[in-house]
Point group: C2
Chain length 283, copies 2
């Protein structure tokens, strides 16, 4: 791999650039971004070696597509049209069904690998890029058998080099489960933030009462709406189902409180403490 093109130099694209360059100082990293300020920042922070444009990607050994998922679905076919026969294109979006569908019958489908590195922070843009973001994190790869064997190998080497463990899933299965494990968390956090702001915005002193517990549960409410709106749109059916279940559980908890059934409230929490064992498995 010599020429790497990263389309979208934000948190994920920029952090991949940092790790790749550290491991392979000889590669040349080209940045493409429709935000000129981000592109300048990426240059001055040395995330990328050069600015580039889409028409240059025929020279690419690797194209990383790290833009919001609606833009990714629109752009991927054009990218595949232009990439060379030996070029590998990977996307890193948080939804996988639509992106796999849009290129299912593309003549260069075998040049594409659908991935979702489960890693990030609540920050965005090139300034948010950091080293070792992917260390010990999981990368979900979808429809691996649709990608050319040599290009699979190239991608796997890259991901294991930056410290990721790999899991293989079908796109539909990915989207269903990630709704529970990630998308619902974001909505619960955004709506918690909204509830508190609605009530407390005129009482600034009150925020002195916020402890680390509040900070932790509301952290994801700092996330980028530009990135998350199209994720919720693409994964609408699954997300609505998780939201219904979540609202039902909250409503049931409220009813138990209204009925003064604090024994049941205790048991609800005791049973949910089981999450400890589950989280112990997370790095």
């Amino acid at each position: 791999m010599k020429n790497i093109y990263i389309i979208g130099i934000g948190l994920i694209g920029g952090s991949l650039a940092l790790d790749i360059k550290k491991l392979n100082p000889e590669v040349v990293i080209y940045g493409i971004d429709n935000n000129p300020e981000h592109l300048e920042e990426a240059l001055s922070q040395k995330l990328i070696d050069h600015k580039a444009e889409l028409r240059n990607i025929e020279k690419a050994d690797l194209v990383i597509l790290s833009i919001p998922v609606d833009a990714a679905v629109k752009l991927l076919p054009t990218i595949l049209d232009q990439v060379s026969d030996t070029g590998l294109v990977i996307d890193v979006g948080s939804t996988k069904s639509d992106i796999c569908k849009v290129v299912a019958n593309h003549p260069k489908r075998r040049n594409f690998l659908a991935t979702h590195p489960i890693s990030g922070t609540e920050f965005s843009g090139p300034k948010a890029a950091i080293y070792n973001l992917f260390q010990n994190k999981t990368n979900i790869i979808c429809e691996v058998e649709e990608t050319a064997f040599k290009l699979q190998e190239k991608a796997l080497k890259l991901f294991t080099d930056i410290g990721m463990r790999i899991r293989y899933m079908k796109p539909e299965s990915h989207d269903k489960h990630i709704a529970y494990m990630s998308h619902l968390s974001h909505i619960s956090s955004f709506m918690l933030g909204k509830t508190v702001i609605d009530q407390e915005k005129n009482e600034r002193d009150i925020f002195d009462m916020a402890g680390s517990g509040f900070e932790s549960t509301v952290r994801l409410a700092k996330s980028s709406p530009e990135m998350w709106t199209p994720i919720f749109e693409q994964n609408k059916t699954n997300v609505i189902k998780t939201l219904e279940e979540y609202i039902n559980n909250l409503t049931q908890f409220k009813s138990l409180m209204e009925r003064d059934d604090f024994e049941a409230i205790y048991m609800e929490m005791k049973n949910t403490n089981y999450i400890k064992q589950i989280l112990n498995g997370i790095a």
Copy 2:
């Protein structure tokens, strides 16, 4: 201060013991706990110097009451009965109305100070005790004017010595606002954990998909049901109100998704990003 009695040697009581002993090696710390194993652990971890019993507290210069809030409300009048005229009793519970009410007319009301150090982790018991837990955290003090001036002074010195900033509030105001800033976060986290466990408990592999975002929003679901059940019970009216508002916001978010109004979804998130400015104020 020479003799300090800590009733309930868990996360908060134990961490207070560590900081107090570090700052004042000459004090003697006595531990009282109805869990004999916790008491032995507290001794072997050197959180306390000696085990003690309730009838010993007449010797106390300071009594710290750090037990679940239902037990605290029951026990506080008896403690005040027994404490000497110069002894200070403080509680550290997460609700403040009931505890203030129960001693409102107690002849030794002036020996008591109601506090809520907003500090903690999702862990509990003496093993969870750590140094510097209270550094740069807020301590809410209620009805300060009901406490004897010299004992106020003693308590303030202790809290500022361990690094806390002090805020004064009425108990009713504390309980109303803490429902938003802490109690609701715990329920949102517990119910998020429940929703995911209900769906995914038979698919252990799925938890490989959990990232730091899920971990952050579900962290409080590890909290102790023994501690949290009586908090929700004592603060029932306020907590139910916050839950109603939270459920309404989630339901509205779901309706917007069902109507494909992703412009409104975007604006909901954009407006809630305001939480960034708020959280910047939190240490």
